[in-house]
Point group: C2
Chain length 276, copies 2
């Protein structure tokens, strides 16, 4: 494991690491913010951030402004890349499939199955690495944006007990019913839609074994709201199942990091409360 | 004048505008953050931010995290591009000369003199535009980073009475004595070094007609500290002239936007106090 960036930030340190992942069988990069408490040797709980389509490990750490809140709250924040990458890794010319678009699942179809194993990476391998090499406790929360919001919600629902809390910005909450999700699931999981339901938040809600509260923020000027995000489907599914949901709609906000930056402090405070 | 971006941010709005500049005789872009008070129609004072080498109007508005503080303090923050750009504009292959490296002066030498008139643009044209088209008062402060720190300090020193306050991150404070400044000044101003002194903070301090306090933050792990920045020259000049300076050195911090983000809140609070 090799540290490739190290930046002082709000009294703590923003780092970027690269390592060989046994899940994806590629090099993987992740950002990790170590708050002042962690630098002083105090074990801190960890919030995992999952980014959206086209992002790598840099977008969140340079644009979200999360470090100041993580510093004050004593949280480690880990932001992995969104897919395996590299010359030997399958790809697609489109921005919404292949490298930069891993959808946080283990692909079962060729040519993706060899490396696109982001669920194993995010849920198992990365936390084990973080907890072994940094002053981290085994308390974890998870959040993300867009494709990463889908990732946070589905991984929390698929792994009950593993996360103290979960939140999402502008998530793809019903991927089986929108173009982004249909394209990715057909490629990664095949045409059998029963396999899709296991990675679809709205489909998972009905029989969720753990009724973990979902905090979801959505901008009403989001250019993908009607076509790809459709939070009303999430609201209906939660109401039908009695699943606790806080869905907040924000007038004027779009799909960009300006929206995330405006509310990431509230999300980290929410996770901090659950993690203590 | 055309608005090319509009993003809700911390209850206010981050916008980007493009217009034809009579100073540079090119199209110019600038970012402008309008805090909630300005959106409600209340005239707000304006802080001008000048970015460093290679930057355009995007770097500060996407990476510094200034919007939250500007929102709370009721400040408009304007961040122009760092030079004229375009096909008909002179350029150099190097990152530290030409487009992206205007050094906030009016060039007198060819081929630069036709368009590289950033001092006129930043000091006169841009404030006139901002004060005519947005709910801005005529109270102005100025700050910047690296080449933009040089810009903020020299423009405040060269235009006494125009700015209520000035601050800089990691400024090129003695450009006549370091490689970045020597290369740019020779190209833009010619080989006569007496012309250089009029755009060099350390040289200007001795006879400054206004003893405006300088707030300067500098990271001690800055990769350009010894070679290009040399804040000890600024400190010596201020001591010799009795010019008020607050120079703060920060262990571990480098030249990046992680440093700016960590302290921009303190700079905006400083400017807000002077602007009221």
């Amino acid at each position: 494991m090799q540290r490739i960036e190290q930046r002082a930030s709000f009294g703590g340190r923003q780092e970027v690491w690269e390592h060989h992942s046994s899940s994806t069988d590629t090099a993987m990069r992740f950002g990790i913010y170590l708050p002042p408490a962690a630098l002083a040797g105090q074990p801190c709980p960890v919030v995992y951030w999952l980014s959206g389509l086209t992002c790598n490990e840099q977008n969140f750490i340079t644009k979200a402004g999360a470090q100041q809140y993580a510093a004050a709250l004593g949280l480690i924040v880990v932001a992995p890349d969104t897919s395996p990458r590299g010359e030997g890794v399958a790809n697609d010319e489109a921005y919404d499939l292949g490298q930069g678009a891993g959808f946080y699942l283990n692909a079962t179809q060729q040519p993706w199955a060899a490396h696109f194993r982001m669920e194993d990476y995010v849920v198992q391998e990365l936390p084990a690495l973080v907890e072994a090499h940094f002053p981290a406790t085994d308390k974890r929360s998870i959040c993300g944006h867009s494709m990463g919001g889908h990732g946070a919600l589905t991984l929390a629902l698929r792994h009950p007990g593993r996360y103290a809390s979960v939140s999402a910005f502008s998530p793809i909450a019903a991927p089986s019913q929108v173009p982004w999700g249909q394209k990715a699931f057909a490629a990664y999981l095949g045409e059998d839609r029963t396999a899709w339901a296991a990675h679809d938040t709205v489909a998972l809600i009905a029989n969720a074994p753990e009724r973990l509260h979902l905090l979801v923020d959505q901008g009403q000027a989001d250019e993908f709201l009607a076509g790809q995000l459709q939070p009303e489907r999430l609201q209906a599914a939660c109401q039908a199942a009695g699943h606790p949901l806080t869905l907040r709609l924000h007038a004027g906000y779009d799909h960009s990091y300006y929206f995330i930056a405006s509310l990431i402090g509230e999300h980290l405070a929410h996770h901090s409360q659950a993690l203590r």
